[in-house]
Symmetry: D2
Subunit: 142 residues, 4 copies
């Protein structure tokens, strides 16, 4: 699937992704780069982006990386998400780079780096891992 | 702090909590019970509540349990949040019961059970743990 | 399976469990209580029990709780283990109480409390969660 | 600290590391590469290396990477360790590459890749993250 197709699928399935302006910038099998553009609405006191916003972006990025690795019509359901907050993100765009570290038949395991700032100021603000169950076609039919 | 004071503090600090209608039902030192009332806006395709909504509720519940354990004016910053999704929540209210398992001087560790359904139909739909850094007064001053 | 059967299965499969004197005290579907008796060999400088020992005990306890829930001949493979160390265990026996929070067809999710000390002095020293893949008979045959 | 100094410190503090033949191959601030040489004693039925062995190696590798980043005499205490098992390791040496992703004043956060096999056959068999509390000199003195 292309970045456009992945984004359409996520926007239709995750209203919250659409709310925050989630964009799929690029995908290839096992990888996705996604972005949430800066929006004053997402800022919490202290001038930083909320934890739930970061979790939502990471989840959507991992989902995008998995969709880009599977046949069309495939599904993935989040089983575990673990996030470590490292630095306060700047009041700016937030980028997520998700990598599929293992694509099994029934489970995918991914890692995400959440990045804030541009160029030399770019900083990893959170590290996320996630496990996704991959329902088989056979099980979906039953 | 009382449930009302904790809710006011969270609503002012976490706009997303307010958006989803987050309510603090009861607190005591080391414990908080919180609720997100059913709202069709939060439903994702398939009739279930989104993962990010569940994460936001769990984070706010742990924060409430910690605030209820500390002196007024204290702060806590999420360091890690790990969620395991167990069952799809019903299209209904979602309740979070958070317990502080360890309150150190610098780190608090909490566990949350997310519950869906009433009475005999109540079911744990997700299990969450979280670590929170507790900035000392001395550090905040510097 | 009984506690004796579960212990025999674990001892044959996990030499490290046998090394540390791992005992299955009781099992019922969805639950296991296990123990590592005090042994000066397991003590690290500072008079406490090592982290890897605690992880090994927690892993074996979750495995025992799952085996006690399945038909004989079933298998489970650790997919994720996450441990939070809360307090230094005393130089004494260490007990693990494992509960299966979700038994799916393909994944089991468990929680463990590691306990040190007796009676009023009993203290939770670590909190552990784990996910286990449950290979189906059909897949094992292929 | 050099690789030799770090290994001496770990061997004296973690008898289990010494038991499994743990070696520190190289360190630099924020990084450590460590190895457990193949030993038939560590093999479990099925010809693979046990989960607890992998956890012990990852924990020691993160500890080494932190020690290499701090002044002599510093300490670190494991607060959380989360491991995802990706593939069965071969009956061969196991290598851990640990990176410090955040070194705060009070908490360090690390990531480890456990690698099995050589050259083209090298494969990541587990992914680990860990948080470590860094007791301050001032607190140690009190």
């Amino acid at each position: 699937m292309s970045a456009v197709e992945v984004q359409a699928l996520i926007s239709s399935g995750l209203p919250m992704a659409d709310d925050i302006g989630f964009q799929v910038e690029s995908v290839r099998p096992g990888f996705a780069r996604t972005r949430v553009p800066f929006n004053a609405r997402n800022i919490r006191p202290g001038g930083t982006l909320s934890g739930p916003l970061q979790m939502a972006l990471a989840d959507a990025a991992m989902y995008a990386a998995i969709l880009a690795s599977l046949d069309k019509g495939a599904m993935a359901v989040t089983s575990n998400l673990s996030i470590n907050f490292l630095h306060k993100p700047a009041p700016a765009d937030l980028v997520a780079e998700a990598v599929v570290l293992r694509m099994g038949r029934r489970l995918a395991f991914c890692e995400v780096r959440l990045l804030s700032g541009e160029g030399e100021d770019e900083q990893m603000v959170a590290h996320v891992t996630g496990s996704y169950a991959l329902p088989s076609v056979r099980e979906k039919a039953s």
